[in-house]
Amino acid sequence: MSHIIIATAAVAVIGLLIGVLLVTVDKKFKVEVDEKEAAVRACLPGNNCGGCGYAGCDALASAIIHQEAPVNGCPVGGDPVAEKISTILGLEMEHTEKVAAFVKCSGDCENAAARCHYVGIHDCASAISSGLSPWTCDFGCIGFGTCAAACPFGAITVDQGVARVDRDKCKACGQCVAACPRHLIELVPDSATYAVRCSSHDRGAAVKKVCSAGCLACKLCEKQCEAGAITVENNVAHIDYDKCTKCGKCAEKCPAKVIKKRNPA
């Protein structure tokens, strides 16, 4: 019997001592935290999931206070949390416009000329380094889905040899932008109605040989655009989405139909 009492007492005393020790140490080594930082931390979910790219919610709160991270840095909390934090900081809520990935190529099986029957490793970067990509165009989508594999949300599918983005599923994380070895993917605002579906830097004649849907750099769109939103650089047209008035004249005039109206999301 005495054994049990001694054992219980010993563990109880140790537990008690540890408790007291922890409290005293906590008081003694208390680090003054910025009041605002504590308030911001209280708004965050507290799961310490690391989805923001910082080591837990404490780290994100400190980064927001020091203006290293945006107020809407927490992807889990989303807009409601961002709103609370911005009232604490006395900032106007940044309403960020939704953007989504967009593949700047329309060279599918129908339009693009095939170079060879490729049987190597099914990966875009491997195909490029082998020098034998399945399409003749040196700038277009290879269609082996390296971007689709990189997408954590399953928003990209390869259809007819070209990657396509499901804008409802796209969270604009940018993984595909980094993954594409030909840098074909760009984050485009949802409000952008017209976009250029080609990235070829080849001259018009060369483009025509390899793809029936390539930008010929004829500059018709540039001349048509009254808002001055379109520039042709390096033999491919660019649209400045901030300036674009969505008049649609460029899409009308484009001889190769590279500038097309996008489906509304």
Binding site: A10, I14, D26, F29, A55
Partner: protein, 193 residues
Amino acid sequence: MSTSLILIIITTALVNNVVLSQFLGICSFLGVSKQIKTSISLGVAVIFVITIASGVANLLYDFLLAPLHLEYLETIVFILVIACLVQIVEMFLKKSSPAIYKALGIYLPLITTNCAVLGVALTNVQNEYNFIQSIVAGLGTAIGYTIAIVLLAGIRERIDEASVPLPFRGAPVVLLTAALMSIAFMGFSGLSL
């Protein structure tokens, strides 16, 4: 004396490697070995915690549990003390050296629940090490853990670049890698010490 300490380090770090021979601390070994950088941070944190914990556990055993004949309580008491110790170390570092605190980040509290820490403390008791031997054994074990996790992280960084057959992608290939590493480490058991 000093040769026996060197012997303890070699034994604990290589021959009886905590991860690859004794299969302790597997969860963090597999979980935090994606990048060499983070695995080194975790390794340093483990070295820090295990070394201190094995010393404290030894003192506790020799001066509290043994005199009271409560040796059978070692597991529960060690868990209590290790958890408390890590908390105190964390608070102390936060106040006294924020730089180290930042470098160790979330790894320090994570180690509280690492079974390798408890495993070292219990193994030290089994081997009847004294205070200094316990600390050296702790240090050696932690170095062994760091070697193992950094090696695995290096291999995993290369695996990411390789074309792994579909069924083996992700966790399976990591487990296979760990198994092969374990077999490789069996070679150290042939050391004549």
